[in-house]
């Protein structure tokens, strides 16, 4: 964006004094957050006067309260969780984009998979079947239901069960579930074991779906807009860097995850956009309302903050 110049200078001045602002960011050990690790490694955040401490957490259960308490300055979360939190009245705002679908069915970082010998050929064949998602009432079952609806099936006809990503492959093979919605690297792992992709749940139902993003506390935006702006700028640059250097993005995975090198080689990375995708976010809000995940409407302008 064009509005980064003044803050840049300020921050650079700050850096000239040799003083970096310490911030702490809560992230999840998944492929999606490669850019922020890259940004730190490449000194992008330092350039903007930020000394970033990354802390790994398992999910929103820990990150969102930590943002509330000020323990984290920024956090990473999927869009649905943010929308729900917002509708519950938590003072949070999305400030920077996260991963986005590649938009290419069959070549995305999320797949709906069935066993090799399954008769299912498309998502509609899963009506009445058991499908594993990692978290119920969240982004993954939302997009699946939407996909089902778009393909002409009954949105509520799948029996969705919660199975953690690492356990999905085994449950698919043992026949406890009929299909799984896996993300990388588990999608690659399952495919290499013979699972067959019948749908791309991020690429197909919503155009250019942005799955997740970085958020902060509304207080922080009010009290320290310069800091937030610096973060936004650095984050966007990091996303861009990851987008431009896919090999570097894959390489950095070994720093915070334990994915086998062969799998890293094969897995499909998401795209890392520079701008928050308002349309797809709007769609998520609508779908959340339709499926009853939220009861209070969420105003997209109050959800997204794009810098001062």
């Amino acid at each position: 964006g064009g509005d980064e110049a003044p803050t840049d200078t300020e921050q650079d001045a700050g850096q000239g004094n040799g003083e970096l602002t310490q911030i702490s960011v809560g992230v999840i050990p998944i492929v999606d957050v490669a850019p922020i690790y890259l940004g730190v490694q490449e000194g992008i955040f330092e350039e903007h006067g930020l000394d970033v401490e990354l802390t790994l957490a398992q999910g929103g259960a820990a990150i969102i309260p930590a943002i509330q308490s000020g323990d984290f300055d920024f956090g990473f979360s999927n869009m649905t969780s943010l929308v729900i939190a917002k509708s519950q009245g938590l003072p949070l705002q999305l400030v920077a984009p996260g991963p986005q679908t590649t938009g290419e069915p069959g070549n995305d970082f999320s797949s709906l998979l069935v066993p090799e010998d399954s008769e299912a050929e498309s998502i509609v064949d899963l009506e009445g079947q058991r499908v594993a998602v990692n978290t119920l009432n969240n982004i993954n079952d939302t997009v699946l239901k939407e996909g089902m609806r778009q393909e002409g099936g009954d949105r509520d006809s799948m029996e969705l069960v919660e199975v953690a990503f690492p356990d999905m492959g085994a449950q698919l093979e043992s026949g406890n579930v009929d299909a799984i919605m896996a993300v990388e690297p588990f999608a690659t792992l399952a495919k290499s074991a013979g699972a067959r992709e019948i749908y791309s749940p991020y690429a197909e139902p919503i155009e250019d779906l942005m799955i997740a993003g970085y958020f902060t506390n509304t207080d922080k935006i009010e009290n320290d807009p310069e800091l937030v702006d610096s973060f936004i700028t650095a984050m966007k640059e990091s996303q861009q860097f990851a987008e431009d250097n896919p090999e570097a993005a894959k390489e950095i995975l070994s720093e915070y995850t334990e994915i086998e090198p062969e799998v890293v080689e094969q897995l499909i990375m998401p795209r890392f956009p520079q701008e928050i995708n308002r349309e797809s976010t709007e769609r998520i809000i609508e779908l959340s309302e339709e499926t009853g995940l939220i009861t209070e409407p969420v105003d997209i302008n109050e959800l997204i903050y794009e810098g001062s």
């Binding site: 999910g59 259960a61 729900i84 519950q88 029996e159 069960v161 356990d167 085994a170 449950q171 406890n176």
Partner: protein, 257 residues
């Protein structure tokens, strides 16, 4: 009169704590500390009969089965392990191994071996709840009075009769102490088991509330958990009074002095 007194003892401290919370929450604006009003609303709207039949009762059913299995398994294995030193030595490190591994990381193994149905959830409850019963039974068997044990030997009270008339009753106070501990652990594991491969249940509901930041509802779920705990504990105390009538009588007799 005595009934009233007992009742006051039961509700006294909870009432004080309740008042403390009402006062505190009224002037706290933390999102995670609901007010009296939010809580009562959450309670009324959440714990409807439908919710009871779809989420609470099935969970409690698994809980009860899990506890019963734990009791039987704990006592049977405990009697064996407590009676044979070699068996105790053989098993102890392995038992400690399993005791030290968090159920959360063992659940995937259970899912592999048992699947994702009720069996798995019950197995998780047993996995956690069996230890206090098992260990207490072992201790109970081990700390048997020597004179009593000698007496039984000389009267040739052996085999099944020894278990029935000597070992089991003499270990019973400790076994009961173990069961009491297990009850609350089982309840905790009921929640944890529903964090995996679930789509209904009390624990699942609470986790969902937590994830969707429905904080008053989450707290109301925790209160329901606590209430189940209290009910179980009181049922247990009634059973214990019956089973250990002799023990308490003896205690009272000694304490009367």
């Amino acid at each position: 009169m005595r009934f009233v007194k007992d009742f006051l003892y039961i509700i006294g401290l909870p009432a004080l704590l309740l008042i403390g919370w009402v006062v505190w929450s009224a002037q706290s604006d933390s999102f995670f500390v609901p007010t009296w009003e939010q809580m009562t609303n959450a309670f009324a709207n959440t714990w409807t009969w439908t919710r009871m039949t779809t989420d609470v009762f099935p969970s409690v059913g698994r809980l009860v089965v899990g506890i019963l299995v734990s009791i039987i398994l704990g006592i049977v294995v405990g009697l064996l392990v407590g009676s044979f030193r070699w068996l105790r030595q053989l098993m102890e490190p392995t038992m400690e191994f399993f005791r030290a591994v968090p159920p959360v990381v063992l659940i995937p193994v259970f899912m592999l071996l048992i699947g994702i149905g009720d069996d798995m959830k019950i197995a998780v409850i047993v996995l956690g709840a069996v230890w206090p019963i098992l260990l207490n039974t072992i201790e109970g068997v081990r700390s048997m009075d020597e004179v009593l044990s000698d007496t039984s030997h000389t009267y040739r009270v052996a085999g099944a009769a020894r278990v029935r008339y000597l070992i089991l009753p003499s270990a019973m106070p400790q076994i009961m102490a173990g069961i009491r501990q297990s009850l609350s652990i089982a309840l905790i594991l009921m929640v944890i088991s529903e964090m995996f491969a679930s789509s209904a249940g009390l624990g699942y509901t609470i986790i969902q509330f937590q994830r969707s930041f429905a904080i008053p509802e989450m707290w109301s779920g925790i209160v329901v958990l606590g209430l189940i705990g209290v009910i179980m504990s009181f049922i247990f105390q009634i059973v214990e009074r019956k089973v250990l009538a002799w023990y308490h009588g003896q205690r009272e007799m000694e304490n009367a002095g």
